[in-house]
């Protein structure tokens, strides 16, 4: 690119001096913006790097099998994340299927079945708006409906449902995008062969959209795994020395446990918190890798 630009520049210099000046100022501008963007990327990378290095140097010392398999304790050396870790997995086991079924179902209806009228538009707008509602509001909703009205108590089920509601808008929007990006020709061909709407949706649209839908789902779940505020609102606990036995058990999750440790006066607890953060990061990485793997696996078939 550079070489071509230079050639044209010299070519024009002979004829029109004004144009040459114009070109060099454009080149400077171009470089300036390139620098700006590199700077923006570099800045966030450095911040991330500093954060990661800090977390790892602080937390690696406390990371051990004991840390994974002990309950929390007032003594930093004995403190473990077992109940929070298992609690997170239990909650996800509720959140994932509920949000998947409701979210994808809504997306299919809105994209394939819903008539394009004002009412649909209103629903659409509300879903987009819901994606931006602060998570604590969902916590209040969960407290009122699941914990008190349906008397689920401060249980895994109430927490899982609340989280499912929280990420539902994200899943609906992502799934809609994925469904919309299926080429119209595919659908038309299917209809042309005499397939019904459901056959087309089930055999043509969904397989083509599945990678996008699953990616959206897993990214949304990654958000749910890191949320604290709504769970504190519904009364998830902080010190738990037992594992959930069933869906109505009380529970705690990793972000709550980590937050509690960081607010302690003793510095060792901050290191314990760093270990918890490492574990949470590993979980997120695993989930995101699964998302990438699924995408690659299913994309090949198209």
């Amino acid at each position: 690119m550079r070489a071509v630009g230079d050639e044209t520049a010299t070519g024009y210099t002979q004829g029109k001096g004004k144009n040459a000046a114009n070109i060099s100022s454009r080149e400077i501008k171009s470089k300036l913006f390139k620098g700006l963007f590199i700077g923006a990327t570099g800045f966030s990378l450095i911040v991330l790097l500093v954060l990661l290095i800090r977390i790892f140097t602080q937390g690696i010392g406390f990371l051990s099998w004991d840390f994974l398999t002990s309950f929390p304790s007032r003594r930093p050396a004995d403190a473990g994340i077992y109940s929070a870790f298992i609690g997170t997995i239990w909650m996800m086991a509720v959140t994932a299927p509920v949000s998947f079924v409701l979210g994808v179902g809504t997306a299919i209806y809105l994209e394939e079945y819903a008539p394009k009228n004002r009412f649909t538009g209103l629903i659409q707008m509300n879903i987009s708006n819901l994606a931006g509602v602060p998570s604590i509001v969902f916590g209040l909703l969960g407290l009122t409906i699941f914990v008190r009205e349906l008397s689920l108590g401060r249980s895994v089920l109430a927490g899982g449902f609340t989280m499912a509601l929280l990420i539902l808008p994200i899943i609906v929007v992502a799934s809609q995008e994925a469904i919309r990006s299926v080429p119209a020709e595919l659908k038309e061909a299917s209809y042309g062969m005499g397939a019904t709407k459901w056959q087309t949706t089930y055999r043509i649209v969904l397989p083509a959209a599945l990678p996008g839908i699953l990616t959206g789902n897993i990214l949304a779940l990654s958000r749910a795994i890191g949320e604290t505020a709504p769970l504190i609102m519904i009364g998830a606990l902080t010190y738990v020395a037992f594992l959930p036995e069933h869906l109505l058990s009380q529970f705690t999750v990793m972000p709550i446990q980590i937050f509690n440790w960081t607010s302690r006066p003793q510095e060792e607890f901050h290191f314990v918190a760093a270990s918890g953060i490492i574990l949470l990061l590993v979980m997120l990485l695993v989930m995101n890798s699964i998302a990438v793997w699924i995408r690659n696996k299913f994309q090949k078939r198209l």
Binding site: V101, L210, L237, T238, Y239, A241, F242, R264
Partner: protein, 338 residues
């Protein structure tokens, strides 16, 4: 591998969810039945063996709902941790939703114990009365609010209560020389716990006497932020719980407080014997009287009272004088209806 397989997988997942939901319903009734059985069993035993029940080393079981202040949390966590070793079948998890948030759940009848870093407010008492919930107040430990400056600060050696008010109140001192003439003409940097915290409430009441806090004060709900803030500047001042000072003694300088009888520094002794005042505050737990009828909760509450002092010292608070715990024990016995 076809779409069919994927769909079968999804169907399987959906089926499992439904099955789990149904199973959970069964479990619910199951556990209710068993807990009902347990209750009758336990109450029988209670009648038979009376108070010794717990001391016999008999195994109790059941759940206890504890929630409330984050200040009290470390003590309750320690107590629950110890209690689990004695009675492994009693589940005593502790939640943190703040003193006010805890009372909200207490009023709704959702919790047995509500921790608070301030005494219960009048409107909260009224609401409890409305809902017909009787309770007892147990003080567990002292927290000495510690006023600190940076290690680099070489001029502040003590403050009177009036000077403290002058520093913190809105429209009061702007520079250190406004507080005492011989101090430098440098602006004061203030770091305070957030307005939602019980620590702020207590300071507000005893020092500011309900006047507004200085607009320049930086508020944070995270006390570690305050510690870092005051550490970095020779002109900064902050206050927070004793535990946060105790952990950072090397980098912070404590300010002895003069309430007319000469400057007193917060230490385990001065907080325990009450000479560090007015900034020593008791922290509490409130217990629903009805819950004390259940043997495992009664046993737990007595256990709390027994070791709260020891646990308090271990996690950075100060134990109360012994008489206070004896008084608590009497309250528990009376409330349990003996």
């Amino acid at each position: 591998m076809s779409m069919k397989k994927v769909w079968m997988l999804l169907a399987l997942v959906a089926f499992m969810v439904i099955a789990a939901a149904c199973g959970e319903g069964e479990e619910e009734t199951d556990s209710e039945e068993t807990s009902a059985e347990n209750e009758t069993e336990e109450s029988n035993e209670d009648e038979n063996s009376g108070e010794e029940a717990s001391e016999d080393g008999e195994n109790l079981s059941g759940q206890i709902a504890i929630d409330g202040s984050s200040t009290v949390f470390p003590i309750m966590e320690a107590v629950s941790e110890e209690y689990t070793m004695e009675q492994p079948d009693v589940q005593a998890p502790v939640g943190v939703s703040g003193s006010g948030g805890g009372f909200e759940k207490f009023i709704a009848g959702e919790t047995d114990l509500s921790n608070a870093s301030r005494p219960i407010k009048e409107e909260e008492q009224e609401m409890l009365e409305e809902n017909g919930i009787d309770y007892i107040e147990l003080s567990l430990a002292y927290d000495g609010l510690s006023v600190v400056v940076s290690e680099e600060n070489d001029f502040v050696d003590s403050l009177t209560v009036d000077e403290l008010k002058k520093i913190w109140v809105d429209g009061g001192a702007e520079t250190w020389s406004d507080v005492r003439d011989e101090w430098p003409d440098e602006p004061i940097e203030r770091f305070s716990p957030g307005t939602d915290s019980g620590t702020f409430d207590y300071f507000n009441e005893t020092i500011l006497e309900d006047e507004d806090i200085s607009k320049d004060a930086q508020l944070s709900e995270d006390d570690n932020v305050l510690v870092n803030g005051v550490m970095g500047s020779p002109n900064a001042i902050a206050y927070f719980g004793y535990a946060y000072y105790a952990e950072n003694q090397d980098t912070l300088k404590i300010v002895p407080i003069d309430n007319g009888d000469g400057p007193v520094e917060p230490t385990e002794e001065t907080i325990n014997d009450g000479s560090y005042e007015p900034l020593s505050r008791p922290i509490f737990t409130y217990v629903k009287e009805e819950s004390l009828q259940e043997p495992h909760i009664r046993d737990y509450v007595e256990f709390v009272n027994e070791i709260a002092g020891e646990m308090a010292l271990e996690v950075g608070y100060i134990n109360l004088p012994e008489e206070q715990y004896e008084e608590n024990q009497q309250k528990i016995e009376e409330a349990a209806g003996e």
